[in-house]
Amino acid sequence: MTTTTGPHPTRRLILQGAASVALLGLGNLPFGATPARAAANDKYPEAAFRQKSEADAIKALYGKTAEPSDKVKLDAPEIAENGGVVPISVATTLDKVTSISFFVAENPNALAASYKIPEGTIPSVANRLKMAKTTNVIAIVEADGKLYSATKEVKVTVGGCGG
């Protein structure tokens, strides 16, 4: 996982940066973009869902970067015949999990789904995602304020995002 921003940061990201140092006095963006802790509050993380790369999406959703962990078990098929329906699940043995998110690296927008895990809920989620092409699936587990990730490449024979 890289921590650098891609070579072409989006306009929104630039605006966020500008707003956060109050250089231009832009005030709040329409959807009140506060990247840090976005997953912890109740608001739909619109800004994170609009990011293209997974690094930008993780930053917009959580405001920090993740470290790979073997305590995050990502289960996805080696080969998905239909990119429109790829069963992907995550489980973890980490304590104090507060959220689990799924990213598909080369989808038009990397963030696919983000789940809040309140106390008393088991940190294990299964869902089905669309994948545009063969690429990495990244699962992020937020536990005790830190981010842990697992990555797996899924080969897609028929993409599920385009026409």
Binding site: T121, I122, N127, R128, K130, M131
Partner: protein, 103 residues
């Protein structure tokens, strides 16, 4: 109209396993119709499961979640016969709610 939400919640000891299947097109906004025109994005943004007035699982979804979405999770503390409330809202403001009995 029949509910768009189908839920199976099964209590096994202290742990209740929940599986939900929702009927929704989950249009990504990248797919063209037969006339070559883009089908506008139409997808569920938030799906919420409440037990005893408290959120036990909240999903924030983008258009990359598959059509007729499926999700599975488990939580602690519920009993057979209790109610589980499920609701979703999509990006066009439509919503649906149902209540399932835990079996």
């Amino acid at each position: 109209m029949a509910s768009t939400i189908r839920v199976r919640a099964t209590a096994n000891g202290d742990i209740t396993e929940v599986q939900a299947l929702i009927q929704h097109p989950m249009d990504s906004g990248f797919v063209k119709d037969s006339k070559g025109e883009l089908i506008p994005a139409h997808f569920i943004q938030e799906l919420k499961f409440e037990y005893n007035g408290k959120d036990v699982f909240v999903a924030d979804w983008g258009p990359a979640v598959s059509k007729d979405p499926y999700v599975k999770f488990s939580f602690k503390g519920a009993k057979k016969g209790d109610d589980l409330k499920i609701s979703w809202t999509d990006n066009k403001g439509a919503s649906d709610t149902t209540t399932a009995k835990i079996s």
